[in-house]
Symmetry: C4
Subunit: 393 residues, 4 copies
C-alpha cells in the first residue's frame, strides 16, 4: 500500500480511533466483557451461546491489550517504562491482560479461567481521579481508623469466646468451635445478621445484644472519623485544584495575597464541555462565574458577545435582583470558577476594592450594550429584544 | 343560572375550593388513594369491597386530574406551558394522571393497571422544597460519591468471583453461577444479610468477613462525604434564604457590608402562621427575633403593642436575665429572622454600633411602657400586671 | 406520738428519704420494676414466683405514685399544677402511675395489665437533660429530614409495586399482595434483611440490589443531616451553658466583650462532685480550670491552699512544661470551666492582656509558696515535699 | 560461666532481644497464640495436633509473662509498681498471664481453660495510642450519647411490649414472653435482622417498620454525635501533638504568638523511619516540611546536603511551579511537621514576615548551589545532573 493510501486510511479511521480510546468506549467494552463473563458461568447460557460469549470475551481482551500496549508504548517513548509498569495504572493494565491467557495456557478449564476477567473491574478505578482523594483520607486518619479496627477485633474475640462457652452445649454445630463462633461474631458485629447461627439461651441473647450495640457504636465512630477526615481533605483538595486556575485570571492578580487566598478557598472549579448552557435567562441566579480556560458566548442582544479566559459573568444577578437576564453558553470546553452568593457577599464586604472592580466592569458592559443599541435603533426586533433582556446576565 | 347565582355559589364554595387546593387536602387524597390501591391487591379485600375501592381510586384520579389541569392551565395562561410540562412538577402531574387510564385502555387487568397509582407517591416530592437542596448535595459531591460507587463495584465483583470459586462445589444452587454469587455479594456488602445464601467453608467465611468489613468501610466513607456536602450546602442555603429578607429590614441597612454579611450567616429564617405564640412569658429565652414580613402583638401590658415588618423583639432576655417578660404572638402569617444568644454576643462584641442601636430601642420601649403606665395609674389591674411583667419581653 | 418523737423520726429517716428521692434510687426501682414485669410474662417464672413478682411490681408502682404525688404537690404549692400536668414530666408521671390500675380495674388479666409497666421506661427520659438538645436538632433540621423521609417513601412504594409485579407469579405468599411487598421493601430498605421474603428471579434480584443501595444512600444522607445539625446545636448549647457561668467569674469581666465572647465559645463546663480529684501530680496536663462555683483544695505543700469561686488553677502546666506539679481536688460540689491547651494558646495570642493577668497570678502564687517555705525551713518533710512538687500545678 | 562469656552472650543475643521486645514480635506472637487457641477448639485439629498447639500456647504465654515481668520490673525500679499494676497497661498484663494457669490449676478442662487466652487480644490495645483519643470522644460526648441510649431503651421496651401483645397469639414461641420479644426488638432496632423471629400479622409488620426506622434514626444521631465529637477532639489532639514540636523549631520562634498559634493549628506531625524517601524528584508537590527532630539528606547535586532539626525543605514546589526538583530522604528516624499548600498560602498571606523569611532562605540555597557548581565546572556528570535538577526541591 502506498504512503498516501495509508494516510487517507488514517484520516478516515481517525474518528473511530478517537472514540476507541475515549473513556465511554472503555466503559462500554468493560460492561460488555463483565456481562459476557458473568453469563459464561450460567450453564444454560454457556450451552446455548458459549461460542458467542467466548468470542465476545476475546474481543474485549484484545481491546484491553491494545489499550494497555498503547499506554506502555507511550511510557517507553517517554523513558518511564519501568515506573509506569510499577504504577497503579500499569498494574491494572497487567492484571486485565495477563491472567486469563496464562490460566488458559496452564490448562485451567475455560469457564474458570475467564473468571479472572473479574479483574477488569479495576479498569474503572483508572478513570476515577477521586480515588486518590479517598485514599488520602484513609492515610491521614490511619491512626484512629486502626484504633477502631483494634476495638472491633477485641469485641470480636471476646464475644465469640463467650458465645462459644455459653452456646456450645445447645448448638454444637453453630457454636461448638471457636471459628464458627467467630463467624457468628463477624456477622453480628457488622449488623449483617444472616440468621444461620443464632443464640438460643437467655445469656446468649444478652451477649448478642451487647455485640450488636458495640457494632453500631464502633461503626458510628468509624463513620465519624471518615467524615472528619473527608471534610479536611475536601477543603484542601479544592484549594489545590483552584489555586493553579486563580493564578491564570489576571483580575485576581490585582488583589493582595490575603484576598487571593480567601477567594481561592471560596471558588469551586467546574469543567464544562463545549456548547453547554451555563446560565439561562429568567432563572434565579445565586452564583457568578470566572473563566479560567475556554470561552463563553453571552446572548443578551441580537449580536452575542464572546468572553474569553480571565473574564467573568453572571455578576448582575448577585448585584441586583437575582434573575438572570441573558443566556450564557460555552463555545469551547471551558474551566469555570464558581463563586456562590454567600461567598460573594463575604468577599466584597471584606475587600471593597474587589466590589468596586466588579461594579465598574458591570457598568462598562451596561454602557456598551446601551451604546450598541443606540447605533442600531431601526432594528425593531433587536431593540425590543434588548428592552426585554436588560443587561449581560 | 343567573350571574348572581353563580357568584353566590362561587362565594359559598370558596372555602371548599381553598381547602381542595391546600397541601393538606392533597396529602389526604394521596394517602387515601395509596391505601385503596394497596388494599386492591389483597384478594380478600378485592372480593369484599372491590367496587368501593375502585370508586375511591377513580375519585382520587379525578382529583389529581383536576389539580394537574389547573396547574397546566395557569402555565398556559402565563405562556410557559411547554417548560411546565417538561419540568419536574409537570412530569409528576403526567405520571400521576396518564398511566392508569392508558393501562386500562390497553386491556391490562384492573388490579394490575391500578398498580401504576404507586406513581402518585411522587406527588409528595412536589411539596418538598428540601428536595432541591438534597439534590444539590449529590451534584456537588458527585465525584467522590462516584468513586465510592466504583469502590463498591470493585469489591462486589472480586468478592463474588472469589466466592463462586470457593463455594460452588458445596452449594451449587447458591454459588454455582456468578449472578447468584453477585446477589450474595450485594446482600452482604450492604449488610442486609438475608441469609438465603451463606458461605459454609472456612475460606468462604473469611471472604464473607472481609466483604462485610469492606461494606462498613465503604458506607462510612459514603456517609462522611454526604455529611461534609450537606454541611456546606446547609450553610449556603441558609445564606440565600436569609439574604433577601435581611435586605428588607431597614434596621440592618445602617450597618456596614461586612456586618450585614456576618449577620446574614447567623440569622435563621422561621415562617410562623397566623395567631401563633412565639414567646411565652416566664420561659427561658435564648434568642431574639427580627420581623421580615408580617406582624406580631406584644402583650406586656393591658394594651398590647403591635410590631410590624423590620421591628425586632425578644432582645430584653438577651440583654438582662434570660427570662421572657411578655407574651408575643403573630397576628398575620409572618416571616421572622431568629438570632441565637451565642451569635448575638459575637455580633454585638464585633459591632458595638449594633449593640448601641438595640440598647437604645430597648430603652425607648421601656420608657414608653413607663409613660403609658404613668398616664393610667388608676387602672389597678393593668398596673399590677405591668409590675409583674416588667418590659417588652 | 408527740411532736418531738415525730421530729426525731424525721431526723433519723432523713437519709432514707434523701436516698429515696435521688436519681440512683429512681433508677434502681425502675430496673427492678422492669425486670419483674419482664419476668411475669415468662410462664415458668409466673408459676413459681408470680406472687413475689406482683408484690415487687406493686411496690414499684407505689414508689412511683409517691414520687409523682410529691412533684404534683410541689407544683400545686407553686401554683403551676395545670402546666405541670400538661408538661412532658407531668405526662410521664401520669403514664407511669395510672394505666396499670385502670387496666386491672377494667378487668384485664393481670399479666397483660402489668405490660403497661413498660411505660415506666419513660422515667429514664425525665432525668436526661440531653433529650431537649437532641429534640432541638430534629426540630431545626426538620425540613431536610422530612425530605429524606419522602425519598424513603417514594423508593418504598415504587420498589414494592415493582417487586409485586415481578415476583407474585413465583412466590404468591411473599409478594402476592402489595402489603406483603411493602413489608419486604421496609425490611430491605433499612438493610435489616430478615430473609423471610427474598426475591428469586433475576429481575427481582436487580430491584432488590437497587433498593439496598438506595437504602444506604438515603440513610447516609439522614446521618449527614443529623451530624451537621448536631454540630451546630452542640456549639450553641455549649455557649448558653457557659455564658451564665462566665459572667460569675470576675477575672473575665476585665476583658473586652469580643474577648469574653471568644472565651465563652472555648470554655467547657464540667460539674465535679465533692471530694473528687481534678488534677493529679505527675500527670501530663493539657488544660486549665476556672472555678465558676464551689471550692477546690490545692495540695502543693504541707499546708493545702483552698481556692474559691472565680479563681483558676492548672495554668502552670500550660505555661511551662506540661507536667502537673500539685494535686487538686474539690472540697464542695463544684462547677468548673475547662480551657484546653489549644484554645489557651489561641486566646493568649489574641489577648495579651489575658496572658499577662494569668502570668502575674502564677508568679504571685509561686512567690507565696516560696515565702511560706522560707518561714518553715526546719520542717524537713514539708521542705522535701515542696522541693519535689515545685509550684501549684 | 565467666563474666566475659556472659557479656559476649549478651552481645550476640542483643538483636534477638531487641526484636523480641519490638511491637512486631509482640503482634506475631499474639497472632500465633490466638490462632492456636482458635484451632484448639476444633475437635479434628485437637485430636491431630493438640500437643503441638498446647506447646505453642505455652510458649506464647511464656513470652507474655516475660514481657509483662519486664514492664513490672521497670515500674518497680522507678518506684511506681502499684500505679503500674492498677493502670490499663498493668491490668492487660495481668489479664494476659494469670487467667489461663489459674483456670488450669482450678481443674478446668484444658480446651476451656485456654479460652481465657482470648483476653490476649487486649495486648493490641497496649500499642494503640489512638485509643485514648477515641476514649476522650466518648467521655466528652457522654451526655448526648447517654440520651441516645435512653432513646434506644425506650423504643426497645415499648416495641417489645407492643409486639408481645400483638403476636403472642400466633407465634407463642417467638413472642410468647417479653424476653423473647426484647430479643426481637434488639435484633430489629440494630437492623441486624437475623430472621429467627419475624412478625406475621399486619399490625406486627407496622410495629416492625416503625422500629426499623427508629433504629436508623437513632443510630444516625449516634453517628452524628461521634462525628462532631471526633472533629473537635482531632483538632485538639493535633494541636497538642504539634505544639511541643513547634517550640523546638527556632525558625518559628521569631514569629509573634498569634502566628505561632495559627501555624500550630495548621501543621501536621509525621513520624518517618530511617532511610525513607520523603520527596521524589519530578512528582507534584503540595506541601513543605519542617524538621522537628532527626535529619534528612537533600540530593539535588553530586554532593548531597544534610539538613538537621529546625531546618525546612520542599518550599520551592510551593513558591514556583509545583514539581519537586530534588530527592529528599531521612538519614535518621525523624519527626517532620507538614504544611499543606492551602495552609501555606493562608499563612504567608497573613504573615508576610514568614513569607519573606522562607523566600530569603530559598534564595540563599539557590545561590549556594550555584556557587558550588561554579567551583566544580569541570565535573561534567555533576554539572549535567545539576542542570537537570535545578534547586533544592
Amino acid at each position: 500500500m502506498s504512503k498516501g493510501a495509508l494516510a487517507s486510511l488514517a484520516h478516515y479511521t481517525a474518528p473511530i480511533r478517537r472514540f476507541g480510546t475515549s473513556p465511554l468506549a472503555r466503559h462500554l467494552v468493560l460492561a460488555l466483557g463483565l456481562m459476557a463473563m458473568t453469563a459464561l458461568t450460567v450453564p444454560r447460557l454457556q450451552n446455548d451461546a458459549g461460542a458467542w460469549l467466548r468470542a465476545c470475551l476475546w474481543c474485549c481482551l484484545g481491546y484491553f491489550a491494545v489499550d494497555s500496549a498503547g499506554r506502555v508504548g507511550a511510557a517507553f517513548r517517554a523513558g518511564t517504562a519501568t515506573s509506569h509498569v510499577l504504577s497503579a495504572s500499569g498494574l491494572v493494565d497487567i492484571l486485565s491482560v495477563v491472567p486469563v491467557p496464562v490460566a488458559l495456557l496452564c490448562g485451567t478449564a475455560p469457564p474458570t479461567a475467564w473468571l479472572f476477567a473479574a479483574l477488569w473491574i479495576f479498569k474503572l478505578a483508572q478513570d476515577s481521579p477521586g480515588f486518590a482523594q479517598l485514599g488520602r483520607v484513609f492515610v491521614r486518619e490511619a491512626k484512629p481508623l486502626a484504633s477502631v479496627l483494634v476495638l472491633f477485633l477485641i469485641v470480636l474475640f471476646l464475644a465469640s469466646a463467650a458465645m462459644h462457652v455459653v452456646e456450645r452445649g445447645g448448638q454444637p454445630a453453630a457454636f461448638g468451635t471457636l471459628p464458627a463462633a467467630l463467624w457468628w461474631a463477624v456477622v453480628t458485629l457488622t449488623t449483617t445478621g444472616y440468621g444461620d447461627e443464632v443464640p438460643h439461651t437467655p445469656l446468649g441473647h444478652l451477649i448478642g445484644a451487647v455485640v450488636m450495640i458495640c457494632g453500631i457504636a464502633t461503626f458510628g465512630l468509624w463513620t465519624g472519623i471518615l467524615a472528619t477526615g473527608f471534610a479536611a481533605e475536601s477543603r484542601r483538595h479544592n484549594f489545590i485544584q483552584t489555586w493553579n486556575l486563580v493564578s491564570k485570571v489576571p483580575f485576581f492578580q490585582t488583589l493582595d495575597p490575603a484576598a487571593i487566598t480567601e477567594i481561592t478557598h471560596m471558588l469551586r472549579r467546574v469543567d464544562v464541555p463545549e456548547r453547554t448552557a451555563v446560565i439561562r435567562r429568567g432563572k434565579v441566579g445565586d452564583c457568578m462565574y470566572f473563566i479560567a480556560e475556554g470561552e463563553v458566548q453571552v446572548e443578551v442582544d441580537a449580536t452575542p458577545v464572546r468572553l474569553g479566559a480571565s473574564a467573568f459573568f453572571g455578576e448582575l444577578a448577585l448585584l441586583g435582583d437575582s434573575i438572570r437576564t441573558a443566556n450564557v453558553s460555552t463555545t469551547k470546553p471551558s474551566t469555570l470558577l464558581v463563586l456562590d452568593l454567600a461567598d460573594f457577599r463575604t468577599l466584597t464586604a471584606h475587600h471593597p476594592e474587589l466590589a468596586r472592580a466588579i461594579d465598574a466592569e458591570a457598568k462598562r458592559r451596561r454602557d456598551e450594550i446601551q451604546h450598541r443599541r443606540d447605533l442600531a435603533p431601526d432594528d425593531g426586533v433587536a431593540a425590543s429584544r434588548a428592552k426585554r433582556s436588560g443587561t449581560t446576565s
